[in-house]
Amino acid sequence: MATETLNAKPELSARLKQRYAAERRFRAYGLAAILLAIAVLLVLLVSIVRQGTPAFFQTYILVDVYLDPSVIDPRGEADPTVLARADYQGLIKRTLYDRFPDVTDRREKRALVGLVSSGAYRPVRERVLADPSLIGSTQSMWLVASDDIDTFNKGQISRETVEADRRVKDNEISWFDAIAAEGRTDLKFNVAFFSTGDSREPELAGIWGAVVGSFLTLIVTLAVSFPLGVMAAAYLEEFAPKNRWTDLIEVNINNLAAVPSIVFGLLGLAVFLNFFGLPRSAPLVGGLVLALMTLPTIIIATRAALKAVPPSIREAALGIGASELQVVTHHVLPLAMPGILTGTIIGMAQALGETAPLLMIGMVAFIVDVPTLVTDPATVLPVQIYIWADSPERAFVAKTSAAIMVLLGFLITMNAIAVLLRKRFERRW
C-alpha cells in the first residue's frame, strides 16, 4: 500500500490540478484588484494633468493701442482718479475696428471686440497710471485673449466642427488667423493664474486668492489644533488617571475622528456664526472648524509618539529630581517631536483638502480680492475647485484641473515632508 502514490489515483491528481488552478485564480484576483485600483488612480491623474496643463498657458494678442488723450485725460490734469476711470476698453475696441475696417455690422463688431478679454484693459490702465507721460503715444501691448479664442488657439475647439456647433465662429477664426499671420499672437506662460484672485471670466481667473485663503485658514487651524492636541495627548498619555472620565474622553476622540466632515460644518454654522456672531466666509471660522476636525488626528498621532518614548527616559529624569511636568516638557516631548510633527503635517494635509465643512460656513462665496487678514472674506483651494467645476464656461474645465494640480502639488509636498521627517528623525529604542 505504501507504494501507492498520488499519481496512481487519477481522480486525486485531477483534484490536485483543480486545487492548484483555484489557487492560481485566487492569487490572480488579488493581483488584479490591486492593479485595478492603481489603474484607476493613473486614469484619474492622467485625465487631470491632460485637462489641466493647457491652463498654465494663455493666448495673448499684440495690439497697438493709441492712448488717446481726449479719452483718457480730457482735461489734461493727469489726475490719477480720472486716469483710473477712463474707458481703456474703448481704446482697444477702436484699435481692433481700425485693424479690420470692413467689419461694420454691429453684431460682427461685438464679435470682433470679443477676441480680447473684457478685462484686457487692465494692463493698459496700469501702464498709464504708472507713467502718465505715455498718454498721446501708441503703445504695443500683449493683451489677454478671450476664453473662447484661447481654447481655440490651443486646439481644443476643432476647425472641422460645423459652425453652428462651434463656440468660435468662422469670422472670428478668420480675424484670429489674420492676426496670427502677422505674428501678433502668442501662447505664453500664464503668470496671472498664479497671481490674481477669482474672476467670472475664465481667462482672468487665478488661484492666488484661494492659495492665500488656504494658507490663512491653515495657519488658524495649526495655531489652534497643535497646542491643544499636544496638550490633550500629553495629559491623557502621561498624567491622566485611568478612570471613567478619561475613558469617555478617549471614546469621544475616536468617534470624532470618524464623524462626517459636513457635521463639523453644521457645528461651525450653528456655534461660530450664529451663536458667537463671527464673520461669514472668514478663514478664522474655517480654520476653527478644521482645527476641531484635525484635533483627533493630532491627538492620536501624538499619543502614539509619546508611547514610543521608553519609560527609562522618564525614570532617569525623575531620578535626578525633575518634576513630572519637567520630565514631559524637557525630555519626553522633545524626543517625541518628530512623530508629533509627522502626525501634524498629515493632519494639516487633510485639512487642506477638506471642502464640505467650509461650504457650510459660507467660504463658497465669489471673492475677487486676495485676502490679507483672517477675518477677510476668502475662499480656499478645494472650494475654488468646486466653484470652478460648477461654472458652465468650457475654459473653466482646464482651470479646475490646473487648480487640482496645484492642490495635489501642495499635498504631495506636505506628505513628502512628513515621510522625510519620519525617515530622518525616527528613533527605534
Binding site: I38, Q51, M231, I249, L256, S261, L267, A270, G353, P382
Partner: protein
C-alpha cells in the same frame, strides 16, 4: 485701539511681567546662590506673566463672545416699535441697524428712528470697546501687581506654574467632549425647532421631498414637503453601489498584500494605494462629474440605455474607489494580526494557500473585516463632495442606479449654501438631516469599534 493691538498690549504686559518676576526672584536671592530660592527665577517670571495674561484673555474672549448680543438687546429695547415684531422681522431689523451702522446697504428706507437706533448702536459699541480696553488692561496690571507682590524666597512658584499647566492640559483634553456636546446640542436644538414646523412622522416616513417654502404667506404652489424617505433611499443606493466596488477590490487587495506579496511589491503598492486615500474628495467629485458620468452616459446610449448624466452609478463607483484603500489597509492590519500558528497548522494539513486564506484566515479575521466594512459604510454615508458634484439634486424614490438620486449630504449642502434666513423650515431641515447623519454614522462607528476591539483582545 482694535482688538489685535489690545491682545498685543496684553502680551507685552505679560512679557514685562515675566521680566520683572524673574528680576524680583534674583533680588530675593540677595546675590547668594540661587538655591536659596524654592523655585528657579524663570518660574517666578512665568508665574507673574500667567497672572497678567490669562485673566485678561479670558475677559477679552468672554466679552467678544457676548458683546454683540447684549448691545443688540439694549438697542432693540430702546425701540418702542420692536416689541410687536415677529422673530424674523426683528432679526431683519437688527441686520438693518448693524448694516446702517457699518455703512452697508440697508434693505428698507432709512427713517429717523432707524438712523437714531444705528447711532445708538454705534455709540454703544464704542462704549463697550472702550470699557473692554480699560478693564482688560486694568485686569492685566492688577494681576501683574499682585502676583509680583506674592513672590518671596520660599514662594513655590514652580508648583503653582505646574498646577496651572496641568489645568490647561486638562481643559485641552476636554475639548473633544465639548466638541461632541456642541455638535449634539446644536443639531438637537435646530432639529426641535424644525419639528415645531414639520411633524416628525412626515419627516421620517413622508415620500415627498421638495423643501421650497413660501417666501411670502400669500404665495401659491410652494408649501414645501419634507418627507425624507427618498433622500434616505438615495443615500442607501449610492452607499450600496460604493460598497459593491470597494469591498471586493479592497478585500482582495488586502489578501494579496498580506498573504502573497513580497516585501518589495508591498513597499511600492501600499503607498500607491494610500495615495487614493490622500486625494481630496473634491477631486474625486470633479473626476466623477466630468469623466466618469459622461462615460457612463455615452456607453449607455451606445447600448440603448438611458443613463442620467447625474446617475447614482457614477457617484457610487467613484465613491467606491475612494473607499478602497480604507478597507484594504484596515483588513490588511487585521489579517496580519492573525497568528502565524493558524496558517502553519492549516499548511500542515495540506491546504493550499488560498484554501488557508478562505477557510482559516478570513474566518479568524472576520470580525475585524466586518468592523472595517462598517467604518467604510459610515464613511460612504457621510461623504459629501463626490455626491454634491456628481449626484442629482431632485429627490427621486428609485433603486435604479442609472437614474439620478440625491443624498442626505447633498441636501444639507443645497439647503444651506446660499442666502436665506436662519429660521425657515428649509434651513432647519438641514440640521434635522444632519442629526440623522450624525446618529447613523455614530452608531456605525460605535459598533465597528466594539467589534474590532473585541477581536483584538482575542489574539493579543
Amino acid at each position: 485701539m482694535n482688538s489685535f493691538v489690545l491682545i498685543l498690549a496684553v502680551l507685552a504686559l505679560g512679557a514685562f511681567g515675566f521680566w520683572i518676576g524673574r528680576a524680583r526672584a534674583r533680588v530675593l536671592a540677595k546675590g547668594a546662590h540661587l538655591s536659596s530660592l524654592h523655585s528657579l527665577p524663570s518660574y517666578h517670571g512665568t508665574y507673574v506673566a500667567l497672572w497678567c495674561c490669562v485673566p485678561a484673555f479670558l475677559l477679552i474672549a468672554g466679552w467678544t463672545a457676548f458683546e454683540p448680543a447684549i448691545v443688540e438687546f439694549i438697542v432693540i429695547g430702546s425701540l418702542p416699535a420692536a416689541a410687536e415684531l415677529s422673530a424674523s422681522q426683528l432679526s431683519l431689523l437688527i441686520a438693518d441697524i448693524s448694516n446702517l451702522a457699518s455703512g452697508n446697504i440697508v434693505s428698507r428706507e432709512v427713517d429717523s428712528t432707524l438712523a437714531a437706533a444705528a447711532e445708538h448702536y454705534v455709540s454703544l459699541q464704542a462704549l463697550s470697546h472702550a470699557a473692554l480696553v480699560v478693564l482688560s488692561l486694568g485686569l492685566a496690571i492688577c494681576g501683574l501687581y499682585f502676583a509680583r507682590k506674592a513672590l518671596s524666597q520660599t514662594f513655590r512658584a514652580r508648583n503653582r506654574v505646574e498646577q496651572i499647566a496641568r489645568i490647561a492640559m486638562m481643559v485641552a483634553s476636554t475639548i473633544a467632549i465639548l466638541t461632541t456636546v456642541g455638535i449634539v446640542l446644536s443639531l438637537i436644538f435646530e432639529t426641535i425647532r424644525f419639528f415645531d414646523k414639520v411633524s416628525i412622522t412626515e419627516f421620517l416616513f413622508g415620500l415627498n421631498w421638495s423643501p421650497q417654502t413660501a417666501l411670502r404667506a400669500e404665495q401659491v404652489g410652494s408649501s414645501g414637503a419634507f418627507g425624507a424617505v427618498p433622500i434616505f433611499a438615495g443615500t442607501f443606493l449610492i452607499t450600496i453601489l460604493a460598497m459593491t466596488i470597494a469591498v471586493p477590490i479592497g478585500l482582495f487587495s488586502a489578501i494579496y498584500m498580506s498573504e502573497y506579496a513580497g516585501p518589495k511589491f508591498r513597499a511600492t503598492a501600499k503607498p500607491v494605494l494610500e495615495m487614493l486615500a490622500g486625494i481630496p474628495t473634491v477631486v474625486y467629485g470633479f473626476f466623477a462629474a466630468l469623466t466618469v458620468a459622461p462615460f457612463f452616459r455615452n456607453t449607455g446610449e451606445a447600448v440603448g440605455l438611458t443613463v442620467s448624466s447625474e446617475s447614482a452609478l457614477a457617484a457610487g463607483m467613484v465613491m467606491g474607489i475612494m473607499i478602497i484603500p480604507f478597507i484594504s489597509s484596515l483588513s490588511d492590519d487585521v489579517m496580519n494580526a492573525v497568528p502565524q500558528t493558524l496558517r502553519d497548522g492549516s499548511y500542515a494539513l495540506g491546504a493550499t494557500k488560498s484554501e488557508t486564506i478562505k477557510q482559516v484566515i478570513l474566518p479568524a479575521a472576520l470580525p475585524g473585516i466586518v468592523g472595517a466594512v462598517l467604518l467604510a459604510v459610515s464613511r460612504a454615508i457621510g461623504e459629501t463632495m463626490i455626491v454634491v458634484m456628481a449626484a442629482g439634486l431632485a429627490a427621486n424614490l428609485t433603486l435604479n442606479p442609472l437614474e439620478a438620486v440625491t443624498t442626505v449630504t447633498v441636501q444639507i449642502v443645497t439647503l444651506l449654501v446660499g442666502d436665506q434666513e436662519f429660521d425657515s423650515a428649509k434651513t432647519l431641515a438641514a440640521f434635522a438631516l444632519g442629526l440623522v447623519l450624525f446618529t447613523i454614522t455614530l452608531s456605525l462607528n460605535m459598533v465597528a469599534q466594539r467589534v474590532v476591539k473585541k477581536y483584538r483582545e482575542k489574539y493579543d
